[in-house]
Structures are given as C-alpha cells and as structure tokens.
C-alpha cells in the first residue's frame, strides 16, 4: 500500500503522463448526415469575424490558466472545420503561438470533408500552420455515400485526397463500415482498396446507430433495413484487424490504425488521459488545476456559446473530478490503446486498486495481459472492451 501522500504527489504530476493538447470545435456543416450525433448544425449565415473574436478571447482565458504548459497538439474538429475561412484558422494559430510554448513537433490537425471546395482551401490551411488532415471519406462507393447522406462523390473524394497528400505531410481518412447491405467480403475489398491508397493512418469505425439521429429514428421504426447482424459486424471487425495487419497498419486503438510513429498524437492525449483544453460549442476539456483534475464543458448551442464567449467565458460547467470519475475515465480511455493502463497511476487517480477478482478472471479468460505495472487488452479482450472495463472497475 502506498501512502496517501505519495498518491497526491503522483497526481500533481499526472497530466504530464499524457501530454497537453488543445481541441477547437467548429459546429457547422453544409448538410447534416443522418447517422451523426455530433454537435454539428447547418446554418446559412455565419459571421466568421465574430467567431474569430470569440475563439481568440477563449484562447486567452484558457491560456491564463495553463500558462506554464508546453502544447503538444492542436485539433480543429467538428462539424466541418474545413468550412472555416483560412484567415480564421490562421488567426487562431497565431494566437496559440502567442499563448503557449509549443512543442518542437507540434501536431496541428484539421478535420476536412472531402469536397472540392474544401480542397481549394488546403494550401492556405497549410500556410497557416496545419500539418495534418483527417478526411471524412466514409465509403468508397457512390451508392453508399448517398445512403450515408454524404454530399461528395468518390471521385471528388479521391481528388481532394490527392491534393491533401501533396499539401500536408500527414493525411488520414475515416471510413464507416457495417453499413446497410454490406457483407463482410464487400468490406474486405473496400478496405484493401483504401489501404492501397498509401495512407499511413486510417480511422475505421463500425456504424453506430445513435439515438436522436435520423438513422436512430429509422432504426426504431424498423425501417433501417439490411444492417449486418451482430455476428457479421464482429466478423467485419476481425477482417479489419487481419487486413490492416497484413498491410503493416495494425490497430493502435479500437478503431485506429497507423504505421509506426504515424499515430494521431492528439487523440493519444485523450487515450493516455492527459490534459486538454476544449474551446468552442460543446467542447470538453480535462485540466489539472491546483493539483486536481477538472472537467470543463462549453455551452453546446452555437449562438449561446458565441454570446457567452464574447462575454468573457464560454464554459457552462467546470468541476473537479472525483476519484471514482477519474478511475472510470482512465479505464475507459486507457484500455482502448495497445499500451493499456498503468496500475500505479490508476491507483493514484482512483485512490484504490483495480478490481482484483475481475482482473484474475480476465487473465484466466485471456481477455487481458498484465505485467506488475501494466494492464492491456488482448485482441479478444478489445472486442468486448465494455465488459472488460466493467470487470476492472473497483466495486467501491
């Protein structure tokens, strides 16, 4: 048993284990996709100048709280950040450079939709300082793109991808699988095609039917036909692992694949349960302040956030996390990646140890591997991660 004091000491330093990043949320899209439950809205009029004032003011406010930090990563997420004026992106990055000390290898990612208009802005984004693009390709055939409510075609997407490749050092794209009428073998072919595009990072998500979306409503009404059943979806997940392994792009997280060293550093901050500031409508942050990890959450409704941010503070919630909260979050995030969790750090955050009975069972069943100080999932364990996490949670 470690003393409470040494746990405390460990906690103060804790965020350094994960690094420090900044997430910026742009809440607008050209059209709302029927599967999407992100904080994204379609709006005719967006006064980007006003938004710029708001973002800069929030960066200043958050910067004052985290002055002494070295910033490892910036991520423009959405919504569709590739709808932002390059000037706006430039002004924000400029402000960031004035606010924090930057890591030498600062990663600046922007989520882009693969339309032609967006592609026209890539060069300017690059000049502003963006060095990584994550493109929402979603499918490699036009019928499925239409079904997903996407407004780009495969051809447009490929062109945008080529432009991105020649503009940015690092390019990743997203695909959604387990779509309507998709058979496991269809997915194998499509994934192979994607891997042949010579990317070094891919995010491969199984379609999730979210409540409150158009797909959710159709699903509830029994009208979302021909979705793969649980067994087929599980098979597709297995195919994903097999095909990506063969291409030298193994999973480093549940749904993310990369060549060595090409991982998304920003997302790794989340999964390592590091510190990150969240700015923009609905953005979440986790910040260690005065030795305590805090959760922040900004107002979700875009105009409300804008108004509050212009008024001096866009956050609706800030609160210290309890040890139980931290235990849950660290497990949920940390067990997603290959490294898994650090037992000493878990104990420092949670104030208690991992569920030993659960751990013993999971080891017996081959769901996790453990060294004295690390626990991580096996392939089999990762497929049932929710159940694994439940088992590892202390009973309290």
């Amino acid at each position: 048993m470690r003393s409470a004091n040494s746990w405390q000491a460990a906690l103060i330093e804790d965020w350094r284990n994960g690094g420090f990043g900044l997430y910026l949320h742009w809440p607008f899209c050209e059209a709302k996709c029927p599967y999407c439950d992100f904080n994204s809205h379609v709006s005719r009029q967006i006064d980007q100048t006003a938004w710029q004032v708001a973002y800069l003011s929030e960066i200043e406010r958050v910067g004052a709280l985290t002055k002494d930090r070295v910033l490892n990563s910036v991520f423009f997420g959405g919504g569709t950040p590739s709808l932002m004026n390059p000037d706006l992106v430039d002004a924000i990055l400029e402000k960031i450079r004035d606010t924090w000390t930057l890591a030498n290898d600062l990663e600046v990612t922007l989520e882009a939709n693969p339309g032609s208009v967006e592609a026209g802005r890539f060069k300017a984004y690059s000049e502003a300082g963006v060095n990584r693009v994550s493109m929402g390709f979603q499918a490699l055939n036009n019928r499925d793109l239409r079904r997903l409510g996407r407004i780009h075609t495969v051809e447009e997407g490929r062109r945008a991808f080529d432009i991105a490749r020649s503009t940015f050092k690092r390019v990743s794209f997203d695909l959604i699988y387990a779509r309507q009428e998709q058979a496991p073998e269809d997915w194998r072919a499509e994934l192979t095609e994607a891997l042949n595009m010579a990317v070094d990072h891919l995010s491969l998500y199984q379609l999730t039917i979210e409540q409150g979306t158009a797909f959710g409503d159709r699903y509830n009404a029994g009208k979302l036909r021909d979705l793969p059943n649980d067994d087929a979806a599980a098979e597709m997940y297995e195919i994903t692992q097999e095909v990506c392994d063969a291409f030298g792009m193994p999973a480093y997280e549940v749904s993310n694949h990369a060549r060595p060293d090409a991982e998304s550093r920003h997302n790794m901050i989340y999964w390592r349960y590091g510190d990150y500031a969240g700015i923009g409508p609905g953005a979440h942050g986790r910040l260690t302040l005065n030795g305590k990890k805090h959760a922040t959450e900004a107002f979700r409704q875009p105009n409300l956030w804008l108004e509050r941010a212009l008024g001096g503070n866009g956050d609706s919630v800030v609160g210290a996390l309890t040890p139980q909260d931290m235990a849950g979050e660290y497990l949920i995030m940390g067990m997603r990646i290959n490294d898994g969790i650090d037992v000493t750090r878990f104990e420092a955050l949670a104030g208690q140890s991992i569920n030993q009975d659960g751990l013993r069972d999971l080891l017996d069943w081959g769901m996790v591997t453990a060294t004295p100080n690390e626990i991580s999932t096996t392939r089999a364990g990762r497929m049932v991660l929710n159940a694994v996490i439940e088992k590892l949670m202390p009973d309290q």
Partner: protein, 600 residues
C-alpha cells in the same frame, strides 16, 4: 347511529372485469358521496398496481347515504371486491361482513367461472343475491339470453334482474332501490349488549399505523374505548374511529350493523388477525364470532434481496404487506447462494407478482424471486411424512418411499369453438376430464388437474388459446401420488438451487428443454460460453449453450465522449444491480419466474 332497518350492507361480486368497480363508481357518484371534482374511473382502485393493471386487488369499503323513493334515509355500506381467482379469499371474507350481494354479470359475456364461484360463496354466506346485468350499452349485450343463462346455469331467479350500464349510468336508480327493497337489513344487533365486532380486514397506513376494518354485530364502539382481540388476547386503546366515504371520516361511535374503521397504538402486526372478534376489555362478550376459514397459500417461492444488505428492509416490507393481506404468509429462509430471505406463500401467481411488485415499488427493494413451487407431501421409508415447500429441500431419494402432489378441480367455461384447444391444454397438463356440459353455445368442462401444472402459466395459456374467451376457477381437492422428480438446473456446470423444480417424470425432458431454452434468452452473454443444463439426479436431460459475447465495444471514443461513455457505464452498473452472481455467471432477477413460463 342508524337503526338496523335503515342499514344495508352488501358486496359487489362478479367475474373479473364485469364492471364491479365501475358500478361502485356510479353508486358513489349518484349519491353525491364524492364531489364531481374528486371523481375518477374505478375510484376505489387506488393502488398504483391496480390502476396499471386495471384490476381490483384489495376489497374496498364505502359508506353512502341514500334517500329512497319512499323518502326514507338509508345508510349503505358497499364492498367492492376483486374478480381474479387469486383473490377469492378477499371476496369470501368480505361477504362475511355483509348480508347481501350484487351479482354483476356482463351482459355481453354472460356467466363465467368466477360468476359461478361467487354465487356459491354468497349462498354459503346466506346472502340475498340481486343479479345485475351490466354493459347493456354494448351492441353485443344480450340481457335476455344472459338472464336465461343465469336461471339455467346458476339456478337463481333473474326475472327482476337490474339492467344497467355502469359506464353510462343507465339503470343505477333501480339498483339503489333494489338494494333497499330486496337486500335485508342486518339480521340482529343489540345496542345494549356487550361489544361484539368482526375484524374484517387490517392494513398498514404510513400515517396512521395499523388500520382495522370492523363490522359491529352488537354493542357500541367509541373513541377512547379499551378493546381486546378475543383470539390473540391483544389489548388496545382506540384512538380514532370512522367510516370510509371513501376517504376516512371520523365518527363519534359505531353501532350495531355498521361498518367502519378503528386505529389505536397497534404495533404488532400479528395482533390483528382477520376473522377475530373485537370486544371491550371490561365487560366483554362471552362468545366470539365463528371466525373465517383460513386461506391456504398454494404457491411458494423464496424472496431474497438482490443487495443482501437490504434484508432487514425486506423483513419490514414483508411484515407490513402481510398485515395488508391476510392470505400472504412468510417465514425466514436461508440459501447458500442467495443468503437471507423469506419463503413466502401465495394464493396464485398473480398474487405472487403483485406482492413482489409492491415490495419493489413501495419499498424500493430489488428482489430475486426463486422458482415457485406448490407443497408436496413426501412419504419417507421410515413411515414419516414431510411437507416440501421448496424443491431445494428435497431429501435423499434413497430414504423416500413416494411423493404426493396437490390436485385441483378446475371449472372452465368456454365457447364451443375453442373447446378442442382447451381439452388439449388440460390433457397436456396431465388433466383428467370429469365433466363436460353445455349451456347454450358455451361448454362447461370440469377437470381434475395437478396444481403444479396450473399455477405458473395455465391461466395465461388458457387466455391465449381461447383469445380471452374462456374463464377459469379452481378449488383444491386433495393429494395424489404420482411419479414426481426434482429437476435441477446447472448453469456453467453449477447447480442453481433457486431454479430447482419438481416435475412429473414424463414431462421432465420437455420442461427441461423449455427451461434451458428460456434461460438461454434470459441470461445475457458473458465473456465465455455457458452451458445450461437440466438434470435429474446426476443425469443431464436437456442442454443448451449460451455462446460467448462476441463484440461489445464502443467504436468511437474521444475527449468529448468520456461523459457519454461514463453514462453507459453507469447504466451497465444499474443493470448489474438487478442481477445476482452464481459462480462466474450473472443471472437477471426476473429469470427465476420467467424460465418457468411455458409457451407450449
């Protein structure tokens, strides 16, 4: 104080759903007992569970004032009774407190099984019976035909039956007149004699403590009196007396023939036994009333708290409910897997479900309900006889000579076209046909059936094979020897006692297979595959395998999703609270009863 001649006490009885509570509504309303504003449908069905299921579970008493056509003022005490067969004891007990019955018959349905059963109980209680044909507003109503049927099947005069619609109010004045003209006043009652009152019912009220419903036979009960329960010997001071209108209304005294309530500093639930006679502590009456025939619980099961720390809360809840419900019995039970709990006796499965729901809701305790069982008689080789309430207690077979199981006489009324299905159902359930007669296009079948084949789901099955057109009533008849065996269920190779049942040897394979299949659907997938087996002695007779959980992972989880993900985890945790761990396997609490319900 009302003189006997101006009191009428009666019960409203009928088959389930024939409109008793709705008739009570109209009687209450047309005599302005309740203001229009406070009136609502089935006013007396005040428990959540009654309103949800649309049935009456607890008998309710209301006093109404009525000025008859002849100008005389009457006091009417009506008791609305439940119709479901499980609550027949409520009905027979209520009848003992009154002199007459309104026999309600749905004019579109006709005479049903509980109509018959209620008539017999009413006759046994020496009641005057007024037939009331209800629902004449329905296009399908055939009052003449149903009146004839009443005369044919029941043998009572229906020529001056009241034709009413409790829904629209048609015919209600006639019912009120019939009550004062055709039902008798209380037979006797001497105001100056020592107090003699019948303890009709008692229940726990969170504000007032124990409330006792009484029917005064002789003497006068006043606030502040010191009373004595003749059977239990318990003594109390009376704090309050009053009547139900239907809200509690205090009165100065209750005299002969009247029905009302009393409260006192009654702490001990056991002291208020229904059927007991209440008298004054000093100058009490000599001879108690005959009392009630005790109700006999026929279905038993274990109730255990999901969270073992809640055992004391469960005890408290069960004691209070038992007070509210004289036909529910309990004793402490311990189980290796489930810890401390109670073995409880019920009048039927609906009764069991109602009690369980009430404990969960009114007392907020999550329960594990073990597989229900009837009482078997075990005859040991050494000549002794043992009563088996719980299959888990089945003694070593080498010491057992033979077993006997309870049998019932079931009366089923069913339209012709469904007769075949009903006969098949009874046959499948090891029934022996005793009688088959016709009344018009309806058949009346009488079967001798083993209770254990009937108790869990017979009524549900009967309803489904006859599209709801059959009605059913039963009485216990006695015990008979048969080839019964204990069937164990093994989950992940470990026997789960709470799922053990007694079955007939010839039906064991079928029941075993059905239970394993059901459990396979009821138990959530785990990270490993789980064999589910049914076994007799050491021999496996049925087997299913619940395959391992294949995939359960959230595809996308980034910084902003942690809160959402946490909610998911909390939901999982809450779900887990409704499960109980057996070895490495979590079994949901509802599995123990659901696994026994056969789809046939």
């Amino acid at each position: 104080m009302t003189d006997l001649a101006h009191i009428r006490n009666f019960a409203i009885v009928a088959h389930i759903d024939h409109g008793k509570s709705t008739l009570a509504d109209r009687l209450i309303q047309s005599t302005n007992t309740v203001s229009e504003r406070d009136m609502k449908a089935q006013l007396l069905d005040s428990m959540d569970i009654e309103r949800e299921r649309g049935i009456t579970i607890k008998a309710n008493t209301v006093r109404i004032d009525y000025v008859a056509k002849d100008g005389e003022h009457y006091v009417l005490n009506l008791i609305d009774t439940p119709g479901h067969v499980d609550f027949a004891y409520e009905v027979s007990r209520s009848m003992r407190a009154v002199e007459g019955s309104l026999l309600v018959v749905d004019a579109s349905q006709g005479v049903e099984a509980q109509t018959l059963a209620n008539v017999y109980t009413a006759i046994e209680a020496d009641h005057e019976i007024v037939p009331v044909l209800n629902k004449v507003d329905l296009p399908a109503a055939e009052p003449e035909r149903v009146a004839e049927q009443i005369e044919d099947v029941i043998g009572i005069d229906a020529s001056d039956a009241c034709l009413i619609s409790a829904k629209t109010g048609v015919g209600i004045p006639d019912v009120l007149e019939a009550i004062v003209k055709r039902l008798p006043p209380p037979h006797s009652g001497d105001r100056n004699a020592p107090l003699k009152a019948m303890l009709v019912d008692s229940w726990y009220d969170s504000y007032l403590g124990v409330v006792v419903l009484v029917r005064i036979m002789d003497g006068v009960l006043k606030k502040g009196d010191n009373i004595k329960m003749m059977q239990t010997g318990a003594k109390y001071g009376v704090d309050r007396i009053g009547v139900f209108r239907p809200a509690m209304q205090p009165v100065d005294e209750l005299g002969p023939g009247e029905i009302g309530f009393l409260t006192g500093s009654i702490k001990q639930v056991r002291d208020t036994k229904v059927g007991d006679t209440i008298t004054h502590e000093k100058k009490g009456c000599e001879k108690p009333l005959p009392g009630f025939k005790p109700s006999v619980p026929v279905v038993f099961c274990g109730l255990f708290p999901v969270d073992s720390a809640e055992f004391e809360d469960l005890r408290d809840a069960i004691e209070k409910l038992a007070l509210n419900d004289a036909s529910f019995s309990f004793e402490m039970e311990t189980s290796a897997a489930l810890g401390f709990g109670f073995r409880c006796g019920f009048l039927g499965l609906l009764h069991l479900e109602v009690i369980r729901d009430r404990i969960e809701r009114e007392y907020d305790i999550d329960l594990i309900t073990t597989a229900p069982s009837v009482i078997y008689h075990i005859f040991m080789k050494d000549g002794t006889k043992v009563e088996l309430h719980n299959p888990a207690d089945m003694p070593d077979l080498s010491k057992v000579d033979h077993l006997e199981e309870p049998r019932i006489k079931a009366t089923i009324l069913v339209p012709d076209e469904y007769l075949g299905d009903v006969l098949k159902l009874c046959q499948d359930r090891r029934g022996i046909q005793e009688d088959l007669t016709y009344a018009g296009s309806r058949a009346m079948v009488v079967y001798d059936l083993p209770l254990n084949e009937v108790v869990f789901d017979f009524y549900d099955r009967l309803k489904s094979v006859t599209k709801g057109y059959a009605s059913f009533d039963y009485q216990m008849t006695g015990y008979r020897e048969d080839h019964l065996v204990k069937m164990q269920i093994l989950v992940n190779d470990e026997p789960v006692d709470a799922l053990s049942t007694m079955v007939h040897r010839d039906r064991a394979e079928m029941r075993g297979r059905a239970m394993c299949e059901k459990l396979k659907d009821l138990i959530p997938r785990h990270m490993f595959k789980i064999p589910i087996q049914a076994a007799i002695g050491g021999k496996v007779i049925a087997r299913e395998t619940l395959s391992a959980l294949r995939k359960d992972v959230t595809a996308k989880c980034y910084g902003g999703d942690a809160t959402r993900k946490k909610k998911l985890l909390e939901k999982q945790k809450a779900g887990k609270k409704k499960m109980r761990q057996f070895g490495k396997v979590e079994i949901p609490q509802e599995a123990f009863i659901s696994a026994l319900k056969m789809d046939d």
